[in-house]
Every structure is written in structure tokens, then in C-alpha cells.
């Protein structure tokens, strides 16, 4: 398990400060991009608990993302109009969903798990698409309220810092988790799952734990998305959305805590600028992935790590 330890903390601090000061630029576009970056980071960090730690390749993570987004929308419109309560409801819904889906899918071997996640993700997509009365069908739900009884996010800057607070909360708690005993246990699944039972731990129970944590945090990302965009639509549950945190994590490096965050940065930058130039973000991402898979499966951060070690051991000043 490669950890850059001190360096990771530095990068986290830098990212936290940078995202905190973006709004000072008063550029709405940068604020928007930074919000997308934070939301994708949360989504990807949650994904890496399954992928990097537990060695589970999920093709249906958007299930929790979409359920978070939709439950936020439906709850704040129909039941109680407040973003904070809505966010908590999203977490609760995603958590319960994670428990249910986890129990059904995690008993199986890894390949079947992957296929089942695809099925369940698309199942939600179908539900969101067809259940017009509840979800608005292909039109989705728009006009999601930002002003609430407890918290008012009408102001775009307030929205930004709301997202920012959750970003910090998720990063800090997941970092603590990553260094904790439960983090270690779940990572053992990714290292040598066959050996885990002989150390006295139940693979199934550890997987469920990972799945619940992962799912609930993805739900937060979904709720924040609903707040940012004000609309939700069924594509949020499509398998291509599930691919986003996977791509981001691969690019950044799944073996590093900061990996999903770095990857999200690259992902957001490329999809925005490649789109601006010629709508070729899939091409660019695909090429980056090919390069990384062939050259550096630990992602961009592994490349950085290698350069760093080379510097230290050869005494070269690069």
C-alpha cells in the first residue's frame, strides 16, 4: 500500500485552500467548474473505497449518486423545503439502498458482483425513466428549491460554500477512515481476499461495511449535484455516469488517498476544455487511460511517486 504520507497532507491542504479561494475571483465559470470538481471528488473518493480498497469493480455506482440526487429533489419539493434536511435524507436513502443492494450482490464472486452492479444501476435508470408521476420521466425534475427553512442557498456563493463544507467533511472523515483499523481491514480485501477469512474476519461483512460507506457518500455527491444544477434527470443513473468516478480514480491512482481527487481535477479540466475545443473529451480521456494502463497502472500519482523516488535516490536535482 503506497502512501506518500506527508506529501498527501500537503496536497490536501493546498487543494482545500485553492478551492476555498476560487470564489474570490468572482468568475462564475470557475466557481461552477470548482463545484463540479468537488462533487466528482466526493463521488470518486466514495468509489475508491470499493475499487482501490476492497478490490470491487462496480459499474453501477451511479445508483447511489442518482438516488441521492433524486431523493433530495423529491424530498425538498414535496415534503420539507430545506437543503440541509434534504442532504441528510439523501444520505439516509443511499445508505439504506446500499445495505439492500449490498446484501443482494456482495455474496457473489467479483465478476458477478460487477455484472450485478451494472444490472442494478440500469434498473434504477429504468425506474427513473418510466415512473413519470414520481420522477418526471425523461424530463426529470427541475426547479429544485435552494431556499429552505433552515438554510438558504439562494445565493450562488452560499451554494458554493455549502458544497465546500461537505467536501471538507468527506475528505477529512475519509482520511481518518483510511488511516483507521477499519480502513486497513477493508484494504486487506483488495490485497489478498482469499486470506482474509483466515485472519478471523468475514469477507462479506467487510464488503458490506465498505459498500454502505461508499454508497452513502455517493449519495451526498448526488444531493450536492441537485443543489448545484437545480435539475435532475435519469441519465444520472446510466452506466456512463458510473464510469466517471472509475475513470477519475484510474487517472489519479487508486492506491493513493488523493488519487480520486487528482483524477477528478484532470477529468473536469479535460471534459470542459476538450469540449470547448472540439467535443473530444472521450477521446482525450480514452487516450490518457490507454497510456496509464500500459505505462503506469497506479495512475498519474504513481508517475509522480516514481519521479519523486528517483530524485531522492539519485540525488539529482531535477
Amino acid at each position: 500500500m503506497r502512501r506518500m504520507l506527508g506529501h498527501e497532507i500537503y496536497s490536501l491542504v493546498i487543494i482545500s485552500i485553492a478551492t476555498a479561494v476560487i470564489p474570490l475571483s468572482r468568475e462564475p465559470y470557475y466557481i461552477y467548474l470548482s463545484s463540479l470538481f468537488m462533487i466528482l471528488s466526493i463521488f470518486s473518493l466514495s468509489y475508491n473505497i470499493l475499487f482501490g480498497y476492497a478490490g470491487l469493480l462496480s459499474f453501477g455506482h451511479a445508483l447511489f449518486y442518482a438516488s441521492g440526487a433524486y431523493s433530495f429533489a423529491i424530498f425538498t419539493i414535496s415534503i420539507y423545503r430545506d437543503p440541509l434536511v434534504g442532504t441528510l435524507v439523501s444520505v439516509a436513502v443511499s445508505l439504506i439502498l446500499a445495505l439492500l443492494v449490498g446484501v443482494l450482490t456482495l455474496r457473489h464472486g467479483r465478476i458477478y458482483f460487477s455484472m450485478l452492479t451494472l444490472a442494478f444501476g440500469m434498473l434504477l435508470y429504468a425506474l427513473l425513466l418510466k415512473w413519470r408521476s414520481l420522477t418526471g420521466g425523461s424530463d426529470g425534475i427541475s426547479g429544485i428549491p435552494r431556499s429552505g427553512f433552515i438554510i438558504d442557498l439562494y445565493d450562488p456563493y452560499a451554494r458554493y460554500y455549502y458544497i465546500y463544507v461537505f467536501f471538507l467533511l468527506v475528505v477529512i472523515s475519509l482520511y481518518i477512515f483510511h488511516r483507521s483499523r477499519y480502513g486497513l481491514l477493508i484494504k486487506s480485501l483488495g490485497v489478498n481476499e482469499d486470506f482474509v477469512p483466515y485472519t478471523g474476519h468475514s469477507v462479506f461483512r467487510l464488503r458490506i461495511l465498505a459498500f454502505i460507506i461508499s454508497g452513502s457518500i455517493a449519495g451526498i455527491a448526488g444531493a450536492l449535484y441537485a443543489i448545484l444544477m437545480g435539475v435532475v434527470n435519469p441519465d444520472l443513473a446510466y452506466w456512463t455516469t458510473s464510469a466517471e468516478p472509475l475513470v477519475a480514480t484510474l487517472i489519479g491512482g487508486s492506491k493513493f488517498f488523493v488519487g480520486p481527487i487528482m483524477g477528478s481535477l484532470v477529468f473536469v479540466v479535460i471534459t470542459t476544455y476538450a469540449s470547448r475545443i472540439a467535443e473530444i473529451w472521450q477521446l482525450v480521456l480514452g487516450l490518457i487511460l490507454v497510456a496509464l494502463i500500459l505505462g503506469s497502472r497506479g495512475g498519474v500519482l504513481e508517475v509522480v511517486d516514481r519521479i519523486w523516488r528517483a530524485r531522492r535516490y539519485s540525488g539529482l536535482r531535477i
Partner: protein
């Protein structure tokens, strides 16, 4: 505690397709000390261990540990109830450090504070933060045993721990086993006869899925049936 029965196995049968790996195996382990299980390749030794430790389910027969029927229990439950094992081919979290390997195992016992104590007891201090995969083979075997002991077992099963070790490394492992056998009963599956005859209190001989002899080392050495099997090798 000589008479206390730790493990009892009754008429275990296990087939793989048409092949009977275990053909009605029964045995009983009581008290401390090393009980070795020997036999030619394919005799069913590892299959027996796999059934006892939950890696395989038997087609027939029962396994009792401390009086409890543990037949068909999943491996992690069997570890929790007190049976720990090592593997023929080294099975560890090779990408993690010695410390983390032992920590993970001791976490199933709730208290992780023990880890450095275990490291010290097994003489692994200098390897504490090293990745297991980078360690010499003999040290890896000792880490395996340390990890197994970290689960605070009441029975330890070692599956061919001498495989692939040079004589110096074997010496180290034998030393460890001699320490351990004073604390808990040990089952040793081994091919190295020198080791087996020097440390065992009792030897069980298997062939073709059956137990064909059981007794003290000198009894087994004199046993005609056993000699036939081994001379034929």
C-alpha cells in the same frame, strides 16, 4: 490437561468428481504437543486440513472442536472459535508490512495493542515495517505463524511450513514450533521426516484418503505398513 479432547473428526468423506480424497477419516487430538500428519502426496492430508478449517465442506462426516460441532462452518468463524492455520504456499498480505499483517489478524480478537508484543516474541522486530514480499522465505514463514498466533488460537495447524526452506531457516521455524507447543496443541503436516520424528509427540499416517496408523514416533517407525508405503516412494 492430557485428557482434554481438543479436536475430533468422525468419518470424513470428501470427493472431487470421481476421486475420493478423504475416505472415512477419523481422528482425535488431545492435550498439548505436536501431532504430525504424514503420508505420500495425494494421501489427503491437505484436504483433511481444508475440511477442518472450513475451506472445504465434507461430503459426509463431522468435525468437533472443544465439543462443538463445527462441520461446514465458514473459515472466519472457525478462526474465531480458535483454530488457526498456515498454508503450503505462503498466504499473507504480501503487499503490506509485517506490522499490518499481524495487526489485521489481532483485530479479530478486538485488541490490537498486542501487535508489537507478538513481533518481539517472534523475533521480527527488525522487519516490523518491511513489506512481507521483500522478506526472505524463512522469515515469511515465521510471519505466517505469528499472524496465525495473533488470532489467539487454541489449536494451531501448520501445513508444510518447511517447504522451500534451507536448513538455517528450518532451524528457526522448528525453534518457534518448540516454543508454541508448550502453549497450545499443534498439528503439523510435513514431508521432512527428520523434523517430524524429532518434534512430534504423536504421528498420524495417512494414505489414499484413510488413516492407516497412529501412535508415538518409535511405534510408527517400527510399523510395517508405514515402511512399505515409504519404501515404495
Amino acid at each position: 490437561m492430557e485428557g482434554e479432547e481438543i479436536l475430533r473428526v468422525e468419518n470424513l468423506v470428501r470427493r472431487f468428481g470421481g476421486f475420493k480424497a478423504l475416505n472415512g477419516v477419523s481422528l482425535s487430538i488431545s492435550g498439548r504437543g505436536v501431532t504430525s500428519i504424514i503420508g505420500p502426496n495425494g494421501a489427503g492430508k491437505t484436504t483433511l486440513i481444508n475440511v477442518i478449517t472450513g475451506r472445504l465442506k465434507p461430503d459426509a462426516g463431522r468435525v468437533y472442536f472443544m465439543g462443538r460441532d463445527i462441520t461446514g462452518w465458514p473459515p472466519h468463524k472457525i478462526v474465531r472459535i480458535g483454530i488457526a492455520r498456515t498454508f503450503q504456499i505462503i498466504n499473507l498480505f504480501t503487499g503490506l508490512s509485517v506490522y499490518h499483517n499481524i495487526a489485521i489478524a489481532s483485530l479479530s480478537r478486538g485488541n490490537s495493542a498486542d501487535v508489537d508484543g507478538i513481533i518481539r516474541r517472534f523475533g521480527l522486530d527488525e522487519y516490523r515495517d518491511h513489506e512481507v514480499i521483500k522478506l526472505p522465505h524463512g522469515i515469511q514463514r515465521i510471519v505466517e505463524i505469528a499472524v496465525a498466533m495473533a488470532t489467539k488460537p487454541r489449536l494451531l495447524i501448520l501445513d508444510e511450513p518447511m517447504a522451500g526452506l534451507n536448513s538455517g531457516e528450518k532451524g528457526l521455524v522448528i525453534e518457534r514450533i518448540r516454543d508454541l507447543e508448550k502453549q497450545i496443541p499443534v498439528i503439523l503436516v510435513e514431508h521432512d521426516m527428520d523434523v517430524v520424528f524429532s518434534i512430534s509427540r504423536r504421528i498420524i499416517v495417512m494414505n489414499r484418503g484413510e488413516v492407516i496408523a497412529s501412535g508415538a514416533p518409535d511405534e510408527i517407525a517400527d510399523n510395517r505398513l508405514v515402511r512399505e508405503i515409504y519404501l515404495g516412494e
